[in-house]
Symmetry: C2
Subunit: 166 residues, 2 copies
């Protein structure tokens, strides 16, 4: 193992998203124990002007999907944002793990200086592959994953730090 | 710029912790507007069995401090965990930024395979510098920084995603 664009992205995505599905398993068990519909989690927000849990998971997965596709020079796969149940969010996370594992490491490695073009609200932004991963993708993936975790933790689901780290 | 142990750690720490102090500035302004003591933030928790804001900041800074010291082969500086005001947390964050910027990049680069010995509750853990950063330090720094942000956001402080990214 040596430092490479693949090593700083895919293994961490796989670990983090596989961990996320263990939180969802605990959330489902928590809902079953208390006889409430686990889709109730999907609308939870930490503040009324923050995005709900569903969106946190969609953005976290989109960040990782976009990263791997762009570094490899592929088109970013488009996925519908139609999840309405915890099982569907779980399936999206599995789809993400499958996707990032499907792209050969050789296509990702060497992308340090590759120009990445990001569509943003303010217009296109261009940056190197390395700046994209370190300054944009990793902070965003961890931000939205931690917010998902915090929402479940705040809702009483028995997840702990070890479940976060995976 | 090319991928290196310095590049995947210090610039991100500086950006994240400088961002954190802008959240604290907004938190102070929010408290001043509403005439409450900003040290009230320090005990906030997202759940009664989660660590309070002070501890989130102490752990986030400890993770970054320990990372830079261990990769460089230095002893980890010991700091008292005695912060009791928002201004003192702010000062700790500045101290962290100063510390990580004080260690020459050349001491950190090349530490991919350096053996890192971590004192854990379960006993010593040994891992390579690269595994330590990617599998332990980055997830932990982002976890505790995001939780700090979430606590302030939940408390009504007007921070937004851009403030997180810095």
């Amino acid at each position: 193992m040596s430092l490479s664009m693949f090593e700083i992205t895919v293994p961490g995505f796989v670990r983090s998203f596989q961990a996320m599905n263990t939180w969802f398993d605990k959330a489902q068990a928590h809902a079953d124990d208390r006889n409430f519909d686990s889709s109730n989690y999907l609308g939870l927000r930490l503040a009324p002007d923050m995005l709900p849990l569903t969106k946190q998971v969609q953005i976290a997965t989109d960040m990782a999907k976009g990263c791997v596709a762009r570094l490899a020079g592929h088109d970013v796969p488009k996925w519908d944002d139609s999840e309405a149940t915890l099982a569907q969010l779980r399936a999206r996370v599995i789809k993400l793990v499958d996707y990032v594992q499907s792209v050969p490491a050789e296509l990702i490695d060497g992308s340090e200086a590759r120009e990445i073009v990001l569509p943003m609200r303010s217009g296109e932004q261009r940056m190197s592959g390395q700046a994209y991963v370190l300054g944009f993708v990793l902070p965003n993936v961890y931000f939205h994953a931690t917010t998902t975790y915090a929402l479940l933790r705040h809702a009483g689901v028995e997840v702990g730090k070890r479940d976060f780290l995976g």
